[in-house]
């Protein structure tokens, strides 16, 4: 099962993963960090990155 709706190569997936990862971290420190620590976002986004690279 694919996550992205379009056809992508490995570089696209790493790029999209990195963009999402950075965005999620910024969002987390701005709105969520006071309730849940940042490493949760780091682990979550790393899992997302790996899944994205594998499934596309």
């Amino acid at each position: 099962m694919r996550i992205l709706p379009m056809k992508t190569n490995l570089f696209d997936r790493i790029f999209i993963g990195a963009v999402v990862m950075f965005g999620l971290h910024l969002f987390w420190v701005r709105f969520v960090e006071q309730f849940i620590p940042l490493y949760v976002a780091t682990i979550g986004s790393l899992i997302f990155l790996v899944t994205l690279i594998i499934t596309g």
Partner: protein, 289 residues
């Protein structure tokens, strides 16, 4: 003719090395700096702070204000420049007396350096000697960009529109010239009027060109610096302190390179996301055409 792989690498390696030296390494250095507290005047030198610079950034009210101001500036400039450019480019497809002269004069602002344009507008808007305050004063408008924040912002928008609309016109003219003739002939046979031809033929065919121009203008307007710096330096107060001006002032004032690097990275991130979304739209619209 078969070309060996080593030959290919040999040919592209000078460009590749140059790109790595002037493009990749500075970005990596900025990423590296963004996780340090680093002031050139500090006795402690570089202190590792992890994500703290970004933590400070997302709560920095002055940065967020300059960011929203910058995005407003981008939105207004693009909303004015693209339709205006399209309109003038369309008018220039018709033959009329003085078209060549108009085209030459229209392209003049493009040939000028942004710093010169800023200086020119400083003279134009000077309350003592500038023609703009003088003529506006004649119709009862008290024009002073050193005091009035709204006027200062509007002037920066007007200056950008004046400077960059010719570029939009030129790209649209090139786009219009490359459109196929058959659909226009068919519309003529079907009895379509000018508006219908423009709305149902020109606009859909020109969509990739419009999106590409929009893409270039968004990137350019977002990092506008020279003209605005020359004209207002971000003032009065923070009325025209767009994000690039805020960044430079921050670097010059605090010399905190770590925090400034985090700011630059955030801007790079925003530009990348906006451009990536636009590029996706462009490729989808090109597939449709």
């Amino acid at each position: 003719m078969r070309v060996k792989k080593t030959q290919v690498w040999g040919l592209i390696s000078p460009t590749l090395i140059l790109m790595i030296l002037i493009g990749v390494i500075p970005v990596i250095y900025v990423i590296y700096l963004s996780v340090f507290k680093y002031s050139v005047f500090s006795k402690t030198g570089m202190v590792y702070v992890g994500f703290d610079n970004f933590r400070k950034l997302v709560f920095d009210a002055s940065f967020l204000k300059s960011l929203s101001l910058g995005l407003t500036f981008v939105a207004i400039c693009c909303l004015v420049e693209i339709p205006l450019g399209l309109l003038i480019a369309n008018v220039l497809t018709y033959e009329f007396k003085g078209k060549g002269v108009f085209r030459t004069i229209m392209a003049l602002p493009l040939a000028m350096a942004p710093v010169s344009i800023g200086s020119m507008w400083v003279l134009l808007t000077n309350p003592d000697v500038g023609p703009l305050p003088y003529f506006l004063g004649k119709i009862g408008v008290d024009y002073n960009i050193g005091v009035n924040a709204t006027q200062a912002f509007a002037t920066t928008v007007f200056m950008d529109v004046w400077h960059w609309t010719p570029f939009v016109i030129l790209t649209f003219m090139a786009g219009l010239a490359s459109l196929p003739k058959d659909p226009y002939e068919a519309s003529l046979v079907d009895g379509a009027n000018r508006w219908q031809t423009f709305r149902y033929i020109t606009l859909p065919l020109l969509r990739p060109v419009i999106l590409t121009t929009l893409f270039i203008r968004i990137m350019d307007t977002f990092r506008v610096f020279d003209e605005v710096w020359m004209l207002t330096s971000g003032g009065p107060g923070t009325a025209t302190r767009f994000v690039s001006i805020h960044l430079v002032r921050e670097v010059l004032r605090s010399m905190n390179y770590g925090y400034s690097s985090a700011m630059s990275l955030f801007l790079l991130y925003l530009t990348i996301v906006i451009c990536w979304l636009l590029l996706t739209f462009i490729s989808i619209s090109q597939e449709e055409v």
